[in-house]
Amino acid sequence: MFETLKGLRSKAKHWLTLSVFLVFLLVLVFGFSQVQLLRVHLFKDSVVSDNQAWVISQLEVDYQKLKQAVSEAERDLLISNTAEVPQAAWGHLQLAFDIYYSRVSTVEIQGVLLSHQGDLPERYKRNEALVEINRELLANIIDQVETPDREVLEKIKAQLALVEAPVRNLAVDTIAVLSERADFERSAMRKYSSLRAVVFFLTVALLSVVAITIYLMLKDVRRQYWELDHSIKTRERILRQISRASIFTDSKGNIISSNKGVKKLFGWNEHEVLGVKIWEILLPEKRRRCSLASTRENWAESLNAGESVTIREIAIDRNGWRFPVEIVIMYLQVEDEKTYLFNIRSLVVEQRAMRALRRDRISAEKLAFRNYRLLSVMSHEMRTPLHAVIAALDLTMRHKLRPEANRLIKVAHDAAQTTLTYADDALDLVQIESRPEIVRSSNFSPSEVISEVIEMLRPAALQNNNTIVSEFEVDQHEIVNGKPDLLRHAISNLLSNAIKFTNHGKITVRLTRAFSTNRFKLEVVDTGIGILKEDQKRIISDADDLSRSRQSKTTWKGSGLGLGLFKRAVSVMGGRWGLESELGNGSQFWFTFPVNPAEKKPVQRKMDLPTLLNSPSQPIRVLAVDDNSINLNLLGKMLTVLDIPHDLASSGAEAVQAAHETPFDIVLLDMGMPGMDGYQTATEIRKIGHSCGATLMAFTADATVSKDMVKAQQAGIDDILMKPVTMLGLKAKIDQHSSAMPAMVNAMEGEDITVPASIIDEEVVAHLVSLGGINALLPLIDSLFTQTADLDAMLRSASESDPKELKAQFHGLVGAAGMMGATLLAQAAKNCESTVETDHSVMPEHVAAFTNAVRATKSSFAKIVAKYQAECRGS
């Protein structure tokens, strides 16, 4: 807006200058015309014309009078009848002639004056000359005559006659010349008059233009003054209204005005800071001198109208107190005046808040991490003894005990299992909560996983006299890619709850496809006690679970963490969940989970038994590290059996020492060791030494480690074994890492190895023998084979037996055989277990393998027992 005005003003200036110039020009023209008019009006010239017309007309009159005088003289002469003209007449004639004579002289002189004005026509001059000459001749005659007589008169008359025409013509010509001159004068006057008129009007017009321009400019100036004034007033008003500290400065940074906010923030009154440079007031000296401050001034200068820049600085108040501020500098322009508006905001409160937030966040993170650590350590510690307890109880259960004892042991066993589940669940929840991204995706069969869980919880269900029914409306062999662990957590959670809150009822587990091909829906419907509407709301809203409110019903069964794990698992899987329930009418929990199509599995190579057993043990050295001496011993014995040269270390430091000195190919690391733990040991080994390129395998009972791949990889760990380590698993791993065999699928989980087993893990047997002597072992072996016989019977009457029951039996056998070290048997039983329900066509093959395994195991055990008995007897 102000720029256009400026343009207008300069245009006006140009117009003004032009106008004034034109006025001057007009004045000059006017003057010129005036001068011309004056010239035309020179008195003699104009005057002459009027008088000359008179004079020339009088010439003719005088001429005629002379002629008349001559005629009268003639007449008088005649009358008097004398020879001489009478005196009176002659005197009269002389008088007339004198008059005529003087007239001609006047004409002459006027002719001269006329000729001054301009050229006279030739004719005029000629006539004039004629008249003059004639006059002289006449004068001669009249003057020289003594006695005027008739003859004289005749002469005079004749002479006069000669000049009649010229006189007349002279008159006419004079008039013509005079009128011509008059016309010229008139036209000149007219011309110059009109010129003057034009000039006059133009001058008037120009002057009025000038006047208007000046008036407009004045108005303009006045308006600008008003605007400036207005802007100043607005500025003041704004300043007063802004509660923050606001300062207006001019282009040099001198303070023009400030508001109450400045007083509040800095302690300066308005009049105290007026005219002071803003940076001198705002910033402490050091920061002023600092180059940054001057740079900021340059920033301020580089602003265009309306733009602003925000900077953070340390300001200083009147008392020398320093505090952080945020300054917004805005550039305003009013006409030529540059004004800066500084808005200053104290950041003290903000900073304090930020610091507090940060502190809280850090402490929260620390707390979370501590909890996480605690839980994982706890679970690790818990699992190890729990495993032992479970194992011991398992073995004990195989003894033929009194029903009472059996029952008690079963209770203890279940309790231990539950505790283990608790620990697992707790850990899983924490894992999922804190690091959901770690949960692995893998190929799995949803129906298989679900069936596993169902079987696992069937005993618990039976305790409450509940039956679990599964309905799979999907292809049971279908394999997809997803997160089976989470699925397992979800379903086991739901199922446990269903079992917990149902008595003498039926629990249905239904797997269907929802909406599209990559979404499954699982429903768990129970005929239990149902859930109150308020409680339903609480469940949905992440509140505490039901178990707390129903303390009386809660036992150590089921997941004490309620539905938290379930919800989290479902959400991480990317699914939705819901529930429907009516008090007294049971509940219906469902969830959906999306999956991806199964990834292609690399080819598995099945090695047959002889090849494996006879494979030449490559000259590899293995280092085993474990702080637990029994475990270490066991490992050592396994390695010996496998014919692998090995060294043992009972601490991280020892292991590092050994690894540095000796080139090992494989290092087996226990993760949970005091002092230097597995990670640290791995890191150290990897640094330098002969074993820095070795394959590092961690084995641990700590479930978190398998999920802590990132940390493991960072430490340099290549693979993980789960405790309890079976010889099978160990051998497989070692073979895997020492040879050029293609990678095996799911090599992480020791349980999934499909390589055929050696028949009996003799170290386990030895271990068991060491625990309770060979006599203790015998009953175990007997019970094992009782189980297999039962199974055999069941298999033979396959059509009658419940597949579910078969599956359960096989499952039990797997555990027992594993415990005993009958690895082949365990494997065969596992194969049967997995296929008994799903794929009957494969059954015969597996059953055959199973039967063979039984036979082989029997004979092997016989041999072993014999051996030991011989030893005992021998010793």
């Binding site: 008195f43 003699k44 005057v47 002459v48 009027d50 008088n51 004079v55 009159v61 005088d62 009078k65 008088l95 004198d98 008059i99 004579y101 003087s102 002289s105 006047t106 002189i109 006027q110 001269v112 004056l113 001059k125 000359a129 003059e132 000459i133 002289e136 004068a139 001669n140 003057d143």
Partner: protein, 166 residues
Amino acid sequence: MRRAWIAWAAASWAVISMALMAHMAASEESSDEILLRLDNDAELFELDRAALEALPQTRFETETIWTEGKVAFSGPTLMSVLELAGLSGQPVEATAVNAYKTTIPAEFIEKDVPIIATRMNGEAFGRRRNGPLWIVFPYDSERRFQRELIFSMSVWQLVRLQLADG
């Protein structure tokens, strides 16, 4: 042709001027002649040169439209002459020898102006030179004398002054 004409004109002009001189001289009148008559309706006064030149003489130089160059006119003021007849302060009618008459209003007759010129450049001048008496104003001196009215009142060959009618 033109040159011849100019030569002839120049020659004739020379002749004329010489003749002029002679003839103007030739027409001088005698000193006793009555030059001017004053008529105040009661009395007729007759003045000759001597009488006129006995009055206080006024002299001024001026150019006129009837003469060439600056001429020094001298003579009594018209006022002083009219006073002889008691005609001062009244409009008078001036008559020239050719019966030309004009009325001169009283306001135009001032104390010093006009004069009745009796001499031009100190010399008396005859009829052939617009004389012997000529009412002359000092045209050059003031603008107000440079107009038609004054010219028409500049009567030459003056013979009579009388009280104007009406």
